[in-house]
């Protein structure tokens, strides 16, 4: 009716592009670059130039109020520390490691015999030692979620992957369905929860099939298909869909922990084999790529190497008329130079030619306000930002914006409205200080 609840809209997923090829292992790049930055935090390098490192060795860490470590994703020699393009759109320092192709493992990587007896604290420690972060794109260290003092009832494994183009999670699950269920089980134990639910898009019947084959062995794992809309994979939507509860800040308030499905699979390896987070799935896709594929590659791999594996760019691609997008097309970043290095938050690189036309002015149709999942009025926020009216921005709740990008997506006049809202939020934060 009139005051309907905005529940997102269906976007042409274009996921078929990347689903033609199964997950490709690309585990031995010649060089990797481990970025010394994580979520705006600078990491301290733990190795020197010339050191020989093994797979899984801690190469950088961050230790103040929270700790976070990264590991070498290949074995070899530390060549240098130099600047590389990072998925945040900036150049950052990175440790360059040259592969010696011996694949020597660090001593810490060994199989655990008795996984059934691990206590909650031990499971959280494994998460911490593995440097496990949310692989959905936010890169939040996972163990912090599990150290919550709230009583957790449900762990939700988010396999929705609602962004168009990306199929990394999907193909990762298809390849390792059992690991997903194992990881989900360990996560449930790590949170001391009663149930674990895997949420996935309802048209992904293959996930359902694969997981149902194993349902005898893992009867406690429930499946919960969600509708094919964007942003169905948004944490709040998933929590509301699965449990019916809503919350304001963190999902823990509703007694829920949400983790990405790729994180669960990596966690299963971390618990059973002691392998830390050293590689992740990544989709290289878009209309500008010859053969879009999804890779399972070590962190720090150059994306250009992966693009070469895909047969390069399509013939006649004009780079100045194409976007090189790090992340999904709805929330990702445009990278100017195609010299990007993969890190744990990068789930996809999309090369996509775009068209331009004469954009008219905003006509005030109100479509942006209609689709907003948090009931903001983007046009008013834009006006308030243009007037630098901090008080009005606060009244309009600009900081509740989740930056899903739907307002810009539906705009018939191609107004950069979500960008304006983003600037409004920055202004509000500055003004509030």
């Amino acid at each position: 009716m009139i005051f309907h609840k905005a529940k997102g809209i269906q976007i042409d997923g274009k996921k078929a592009l990347c689903k033609k090829h199964p997950l490709v292992d690309y585990l031995n790049p010649n060089t990797v670059y481990i970025p010394l930055v994580h979520r705006n935090l600078k990491l301290e390098p733990q190795v020197k130039v010339g050191d020989l490192v093994k797979i899984g060795q801690v190469v950088a860490q961050f230790k103040t109020y929270a700790s976070f470590i990264t590991h070498a994703s290949i074995s070899g020699e530390v060549k240098s520390i130099k600047k590389v393009w990072h998925s945040s759109g900036k150049m950052v320092d990175a440790i360059e490691i040259e592969n010696d192709h011996k694949n020597t493992l660090d001593e810490s990587i060994k199989e655990r015999k008795s996984v059934d007896n691990l206590s909650r604290d031990e499971l959280i420690d494994i998460m911490k030692d593995a440097g496990l972060t949310g692989l959905g794109g936010a890169g939040f260290p996972s163990y912090i979620k599990y150290q919550t003092k709230e009583k957790i009832d449900t762990v939700i494994i988010n396999a929705v992957e609602c962004e168009p183009y990306i199929t990394a999670d999907y193909q990762f699950i298809i390849k390792f369905p059992e690991k997903l269920l194992k990881g989900a089980t360990y996560m449930m134990r790590a949170a001391d929860a009663n149930e674990v639910v895997i949420a996935y898009k309802n048209y992904n019947k293959k996930i359902e099939e694969e997981l149902n084959k194993l349902s005898d062995k893992y009867p406690h794992v429930k499946l919960s298909p969600v509708k094919d809309i964007y942003p169905a994979g948004w944490e709040k939507y998933v929590v509301e869909h699965v449990t019916g509860k809503t919350y304001k800040g963190l999902p823990a308030e509703a007694g829920v922990i949400v983790n990405n499905s790729a994180t669960a699979i990596i966690y299963a390896d971390a618990v059973e084999k002691g392998i830390p987070l050293i590689s992740r799935p990544i989709s290289i896709t878009g209309e500008g790529i010859n053969e879009p594929k999804t890779f399972f590659a070590p962190l720090g791999t150059k994306v250009s190497e992966l693009i070469e594996q895909c047969g390069g760019y399509v013939e006649g691609l004009d780079p100045m008329k194409a976007n090189y997008i790090a992340g999904g097309p709805m929330t990702g970043r445009a990278i100017f130079i195609d010299d990007l290095v993969m890190d744990d938050t990068l789930g996809a690189v999309i090369i996509r030619p775009f068209i331009t036309w004469d954009y008219p002015e905003c006509l005030g149709c109100g479509k942006c306000a209609d689709v907003c999942p948090v009931y903001l009025t983007p046009t008013e926020i834009k006006k308030a930002y243009e007037r630098k009216d901090v008080k009005l921005l606060d009244l309009l709740d600009a900081n509740k914006c989740m930056q899903c990008g739907l307002c810009s997506y539906v705009c018939p006049s191609h107004v950069e409205i979500s960008e304006a809202v983003g600037k409004g939020i920055d202004l509000l934060k500055k003004g509030a200080k």
Partner: protein, 399 residues
């Protein structure tokens, strides 16, 4: 290494797809006006020609007027672009600017608002007011505060109506050349009632023009586009089906007028349903409901704002019609409400974020608003408190 273009998320835009952009919205608006244009051509041109009262060229005149309205607006805007921008005076530049300015729409609406046989120079003046003063001086498409067509119409209606009368048409509707439709407009007769204080009667208000069905079809005197509710509704259904306008804006507007005039009719002594029906079918209410209060630029943006806008506009229209002394309650009230679109937008934007999480609350607040308006209005519209509550008192006595 190659250098790629920049850009901002989201990189997917619905407007890049075919048929999802503002151009399509404006094209659909034009298509929605086609039934109205065709009907007014039929009523004012073809049917009279078939009766043998006018010659062939006079038959084409209604169509000519509408096309001239659109054409004049486009030309004027082109001249405006030429004069104001010294650097880009090539034809290509001006055409490109015109393609995102949609000048033809206010021009066509303007022509539809004017009566038949409006002199072309009056139309030209109205188009000037509409496009240059009402739109371009405010900053062009998307920045106008008033509905451009309505501003042109109002200025001409308030200042130049005498010239239209002299040219052979009485403003606001008497089409003298069309013999079968001579006489004052329904609203003109209505004004007499208001001045003399007699009770409204079906015989005096509706019967001179046939019955309410004729009002619905549109074979009554009036401006070019505003008489036929049927043609307007066809356009409205098209617009709603194409998801260009929201169905509830016209429905709330017309509904408010319906309910309020029903109350007024009851106070004036006749509680028959014919009176509110007559009330919404006469004058420009239907045309405004579908084509003017849904015009996106000069009306509120979000759903709650649209509801409040339509609600208050309905109240104002009825006030202007039954209590005020200005001609054409619809146009005057809409111009007044256009000014308030901006604050309505801001405040409903704030209310939305706080209240919309619980849709029940929004519905309740609107319902309370409606009730308050009806109660307050009943008191205002009545001569005194006693007569306002007379119907209620009567019901009590019956019980």
């Amino acid at each position: 290494m190659a250098r790629f273009a920049g850009g901002k998320a989201p990189f997917l835009r619905i407007s890049d797809q075919k048929g999802k952009s503002t151009n399509t919205i404006m094209r659909d608006f034009m298509i929605a006006m086609l039934p109205v244009i065709l009907f007014s051509w039929y009523k004012n041109g073809i049917s009279v020609y078939l009766d043998g009262n006018i010659n062939f060229f006079e038959m084409l005149y209604p169509l000519f007027l509408v096309i001239m309205g659109g054409l004049l607006s486009v030309v004027m805007e082109g001249i405006f672009f030429y004069v104001t921008d010294k650097k880009n005076r090539k034809l290509d530049d001006i055409l490109r600017k015109l393609s995102t300015s949609y000048a033809a729409i206010p021009g066509v609406i303007l022509a539809l608002l004017l009566p038949l046989y409006t002199p072309i120079w009056v139309l030209m003046f109205a188009a000037f007011i509409a496009t240059i003063v009402g739109k371009m001086l405010f900053g062009g498409f998307g920045h106008n505060i008033f509905n451009p067509a309505l501003l042109g119409y109002a200025v001409v209606g308030f200042t130049l109506s005498g010239f239209i009368t002299d040219a052979g048409g009485v403003f606001n509707g008497t089409e003298v050349l069309i013999d079968s439709y001579g006489g004052a407009t329904p609203l003109g007769i209505f004004a007499n009632f208001r001045n003399t204080g007699e009770a409204f009667s079906f015989a005096a208000l509706v019967e001179p023009y046939g019955n309410l069905w004729d009002f619905f079809i549109g074979t009554i005197p009036g401006a070019l586009g505003e008489t036929s509710a049927l043609a307007i509704l066809i356009g409205g259904v098209w617009l709603v089906a194409r998801k260009i306008i929201k169905w509830y804006t016209p429905v709330i507007y017309v509904g408010t007028i319906f309910v309020l005039s029903w109350i007024i009719g009851a106070i004036a002594g006749d509680a028959g349903l014919w009176f509110p029906t007559y009330s919404i079918l006469s004058g420009g209410i239907m045309f405004a409901a579908v084509f003017m209060i849904t015009e996106p630029v000069s009306t509120p943006t979000n759903a709650l704002g649209k509801v409040f806008f339509a609600l208050f506009l309905g109240v104002l229209t009825v006030l202007f019609r039954f209590v005020g002394n200005l001609p054409e309650g619809v146009g005057t009230s809409l111009i007044l409400m256009n000014i308030f679109a901006i604050p309505i937008d801001t405040y409903t934007g704030i209310i939305r974020t706080k209240v919309f999480r619980k849709p029940g609350l929004s519905y309740a607040s609107v319902l309370i608003g409606v009730l308050l308006i009806i109660v307050a209005y009943t008191i205002i519209a009545s001569v005194n408190m006693y007569t306002a509550f007379l119907p209620i008192i009567n019901i009590w006595q019956v019980i």
